[in-house]
Amino acid sequence: MGTTVLQSGSDVLTDVEGSEQGDLRTEEMLVNMGPQHPATHGVLRVVLRTDGEMVLESVPHIGYLHRCAEKIGENLQPFQYIPYTDRMDYLAGMNNNQAFSIAIEKLVGIEVPLRAQFIRVIFAELNRIASHLVAFGTYGLDMGAFTPFLYAFREREMILDLFESTCGARLTYSYITIGGVHDDLPDRFLEVLDEFLDYFEPKIDEYNQLLSFNHIFVKRTANVGVISADDAVRWALTGPVLRASGVNWDLRKSTPYEIYDRFDFDIPIGLPGGREGVPRSVVVGDSWNRHIVKVWEMRQSCRIIRQAMAQITDGPHIAAKVKNVKLPDDEVYVEIENPRGQLGFYVRGDGSSIPARVKVRGPSFCNISVLNHVGKGCLLADIPAIVGSIDIVMGECDR
């Protein structure tokens, strides 16, 4: 940011080295991208060592949004902690609520009613769509196309309307709670949802035409920041980043939680170029694949929602009163498939109603750690392309 370039705060910057190349002497430069920079999606700070436009090293620095979520988890009862999970991955609050609720339910042993599970699936998938829409739009923004961002937000507003009609909040829902969901669906909810899906599904193709298959966009993202499947697993990348590298791993399929085994859906994975309409310059694991996997996932989410709408049953929406529930002296580690990857909650009880330890495994935290490994030798303009395609949310990265 601006003149914060050489300002290092508490972080130590190494000296700039010069290198002799024939007659022309070039100097390497340390450039500080962030923590306030339009391309860093919040407050990520990347220290770049550049040689002209070439990036030799890109070291991510995080922690500018460290909000002590784990400390708070050790001081509050689980049901009080639900609102804080919203604020971790603030683009996918429903999924975060769901992960924490499942962890506590598993620890305590609460059976969730079937209707609540259906509602959870519907809302988790809707939020996945909303989150991917933001990722889609902001990725266009990173690439210099402003308009897709606003289209994505326009559609997202419709999903937020649905959320609002159900739980009253636009962003931080605290709707999915321990033992079920907080309220039952409002009247006519499913009709409006159906209308929305009818409206939204054709839009996916439209946006692909506008952005994803745009020639310039493909040129900018294809073969940029390639992560091999081996690397992806070794760095514990999850979610669309892992799947774009060609690894068919989605917790909804591989170890189904809730009732995901009842639905029929595909897992989009990264494809090499030249096949199935994929542009020729694309390789598995590049930024374009990371982008398009999210787009296809929106379609699969629509499929899941439609099936859930068809199968939903009547019944109670919450199991029982869960306030002041005693947590056993035990520990649990639960992961679910968040829009950005696998969100894990480690909860350890000690017999009281307040957990002894809550640990959050944020997918963004692991995903962004690979940046330096990937970003070596790319151009300066590729750094936004890589960071944007990894699609981080600093809230859960720093927690």
């Binding site: 130590v12 922690g63 050790e74 070794r234 068919n248 580690y333 992961e335």
Partner: protein, 177 residues
């Protein structure tokens, strides 16, 4: 493979290296000795029956009553085409390493799972566990000049940081933790 079998294999291979196995928990785990942890980690990753190729999470625990710190490693094996001969297992297991609170040193596994690098930095930042042979063991979330390890149970909240007050009168009057 079931957790019981993993534990049997581990105790068979390492004997004393495995201190304890907890199988009746919500999520079974084995407690291993600190000095044997590197070998066990390499075995868990490379052995054909294990293939834990993905380190998902490193959780640092503060066991104040035992005067110990612990690190819990959550391991997954993810089927990847092309990594090793039979990377088709899908299993989940956890390893717990306990160290003395006064000299918390654990060998780093970032050479075995690169993903551990940041997790270990976070554990160092939050809980003060020192991971030996870590390439860059610095604070990751808090600023470099932060004092104390926030997630320890006996952590004292700072009263100010670089001139910015961290408390208000209201907060001073009400107990923390």
């Amino acid at each position: 493979m079931a957790p019981e079998e993993i534990c049997i294999i581990l105790t068979g291979e390492f004997g004393d290296g495995v201190v304890d196995t907890v199988l009746d928990a919500c999520r079974p785990y084995a407690v291993v000795r600190v000095d044997g942890w590197s070998d066990i980690a390499r075995f868990l990753r490379d052995d054909g029956r294990m293939r834990f190729n993905m380190l998902q999470c490193v959780t640092a625990l503060d066991l104040l009553e035992d005067n110990k710190l612990a690190a819990v490693y959550d391991l997954f094996s993810v089927p990847v085409v092309g990594v090793g001969p039979c990377a088709t297992l899908r299993q989940h297991f956890a390893i717990r390493v306990e160290v003395d609170r006064d000299a918390p040193h654990i060998p780093s596994v970032s050479g075995i799972w690169p993903a551990a690098e940041w997790h270990e930095r976070e554990a160092y930042d939050m809980m003060g566990i020192v991971f030996d042979d870590h390439p860059n063991l610095t604070r990751i979330l808090c600023p470099d000049d932060w004092e104390g390890y926030p997630l320890r149970k006996d952590y004292e909240f700072p009263l100010e940081y670089h001139g910015i007050p961290a408390t208000t009168e209201h907060q001073l009057n009400s107990p923390r933790h």
